[in-house]
């Protein structure tokens, strides 16, 4: 076995990428499954947020004679329970995680590979999702028994939903990757991140269904990517969107994913150079 005078012949780029994603997803699903007890604890903390919203808005609905802006208690229940499924899918690596892994030296390891580090994040989180959703289903079932959601779904809605949750995952991955790169430039990235989260809370349908927000807020939300990470996937399943809206929504998700990816691509080169100038 001798070191080749030229670099080794490579497998095709497309095949390697698919191969990488599948292998990563498999190995990370395995790892995450080992830590299922810890994952359950995390999920309980995650579920607290929508359950609180659900309880508050159901209470309001009941005190207002059954519904608020057309949402009955049952419909709120449906919204927030589907919310949890969507949330499971759109949790991604935060700038806090970036700070940790830069300090840890793990990020340098990623830089040594002939592969853009974002693939690592996308692939590993995607693998984790599979495990999370599986582990989560019993909790979803329990919530359904407790809060008695009401909704009816069509086959098309289910299909669109299944695609839309991955769309939400991709959009949020891209934008939080952008925020992650900010950690290279400043140690106060948390401030920017918190601002993002607050904006997202109000304009994405995370806090309440967007129909309950004042009109001007809904207008603003239409021009931002947040809506497509929470509201659209939830409404696809729970609401009564027309086929045009469903498919148009998927198109918007594609649009925002492309925008996010483009921004990442533009910023990465400068960020990497800045990072390697400082080192760790």
């Amino acid at each position: 076995m001798s070191a080749p005078a030229q670099p080794l012949p490579q497998a095709s780029r497309f095949r390697s990428t698919v191969d990488y994603y599948l292998t990563s997803m498999r190995t990370h699903a395995q790892t995450d499954f080992q830590y299922r007890a810890a994952t359950y604890m995390y999920l309980i903390g995650m579920v607290a947020e929508p359950v609180i919203y659900l309880v508050v808005w159901s209470t309001i609905a009941r005190s207002q004679g059954g519904s608020v802006n057309g949402f009955t208690a049952g419909e709120f229940a449906a919204y927030y329970i589907v919310w949890t499924l969507v949330r499971n899918m759109n949790i991604v690596f935060t700038p806090y995680g970036w700070e940790w892994r830069i300090k840890d030296g793990h990020f340098s390891g990623l830089l040594l590979r002939p592969q853009h580090p974002i693939h690592y994040d996308l692939a590993t989180m995607a693998g984790g999702k599979v495990v999370w959703v599986l582990l989560y289903l019993p909790i979803a079932f329990a919530l359904t028994l407790i809060f008695k959601p009401t909704f009816d779904v069509s086959a098309l809605e289910v299909v669109v939903f299944l695609v839309a949750i991955w769309g939400a995952y991709l959009i949020r991955s891209m934008f939080l990757w952008l925020l992650g790169m900010v950690t290279f430039w400043t140690t106060r990235a948390s401030a920017i991140f918190e601002t993002y989260i607050m904006a997202e809370l109000l304009l994405s349908g995370r806090l309440v269904p967007l129909q309950l927000m004042p009109g001007w807020a809904q207008t603003i939300a239409a021009f931002l990517p947040f809506k497509w990470t929470f509201f659209f996937p939830i409404e696809a399943l729970v609401g009564d969107l027309s086929t045009a809206s469903l498919l148009g929504g998927l198109g918007m998700q594609l649009f925002w994913t492309t925008v996010g990816a483009g921004l990442v691509w533009v910023c990465w080169r400068a960020s990497a150079k800045h990072y390697t100038a400082v080192g760790n």
Binding site: Q10, Y20, P114, K273
Partner: protein, 322 residues
């Protein structure tokens, strides 16, 4: 590889201890320029095994990081395999590997075999190339039963071996090894060293190794670059090192007639009963030895080169920080 006037300067904030100084630093930030690497130049040909020797903080790891693309140099240029490392081109990254002692790049919770599969995909290896490399490396390092266990269950030495396998799967032409034997027990150190030597012999891959263990360098490298305070103090063969810096030898004499004062022959380093150790300038050694043999009653006489550790210490001691 070709390195010319490579420099890396870090800006380090400076702050004295104490509350008052802490308050002052809020208002005005003092930074100091630390020349981690200061205009170093060297050329390394293919297949060479070169040791970077220096105490902690000398700039060894910084140099290695610059050559592997992890660190952007402040000035100067470096060319490895025809690429500029700081550009981090994919073609370049595919031909090198960086192994750092004490750091893990394998997945912690899974058997190493799974991590190898990930590397296969990352480095875009063809299945047959990958399997061949993997099996050969596993055999060379004898880790067949270790690769099925989760990495976290392995001992430090076992982890290092498995780490090395993972980092060589893509048959890199250049190996950057940063303190690969640190923290390992003596047996494992020897094992890793012999592996690297064997790998270099079989493969012709270039190896750049940093260490502050002399034994690593002595065992592996014919050529040594001594670096201290970011500057190169010596670049050449190991034997030439002692010639340049410590041109003396030690003569150990067992006297048959009991004690004697041998201070006229050279510097007496030790004197324990009838055994005396002398330090003698290299050039005069044959003459002094001949005199001893003829003028004293010598039961046994040994001539030795100074231990390399002492030489290195001398090298460092001679260099003063700028």
């Amino acid at each position: 590889m070709h390195v010319s006037e490579l420099t890396k300067i870090f800006k380090v904030p400076e702050r004295e201890a104490g509350l008052r100084a802490a308050m002052k630093s809020l208002v005005r930030r003092h930074t100091r320029d630390v020349h981690a690497v200061d205009q170093i130049s060297f050329d390394i040909g293919p297949g060479e095994v070169v040791g970077f020797l220096g105490p902690n903080g000398a700039g060894k790891t910084t140099t290695l990081k610059m050559l592997s693309g992890l660190l952007y140099p402040t000035s100067g240029e470096a060319l490895v395999l025809g690429h500029v490392p700081s550009k981090r081109e994919k073609d370049y990254l595919r031909q090198i590997t960086l192994v750092m002692g004490n750091r893990n790049q394998l997945q912690w919770d899974l058997p190493a075999l799974d991590s190898f599969e990930l590397n296969r995909a990352v480095y875009r290896l063809r299945r047959e190339d990958f399997l061949q490399a993997r099996d050969e490396l596993i055999e060379l390092l004898d880790v067949g039963d270790l690769v099925r266990k989760p990495v976290r269950n392995l001992s430090l030495g076992e982890r290092m071996k498995v780490e090395v396998v993972g980092s060589l799967l893509h048959r890199p032409r250049v190996l950057f090894l940063d303190e690969p034997t640190i923290g390992l027990d003596v047996t494992m150190q020897k094992r890793i060293r012999s592996f690297i030597a064997e790998y270099n012999r079989q493969n012709g891959a270039t190896v750049l190794l940093t260490s502050h263990y002399m034994a690593d360098v002595v065992a592996l490298c014919r050529r040594v670059i001594v670096i201290h305070h970011g500057r190169i103090l010596f670049d050449g063969n190991l034997s030439a090192l002692s010639d340049q810096f410590a041109a003396y030898k030690t003569i150990e004499v067992d006297l048959a007639n009991g004690q004697a004062d041998l201070s006229t022959y050279g510097d007496v380093l030790e004197c324990a009963g009838d055994r005396v150790k002398l330090r003698v300038p290299k050039a005069e050694t044959p003459r002094v030895a001949a005199r001893l043999l003829s003028e004293q009653q010598v039961a046994d006489l040994t001539i030795e080169d100074p231990p390399i550790e002492d030489v290195i210490e001398l090298v460092f001691a001679q260099d003063k920080p700028a």
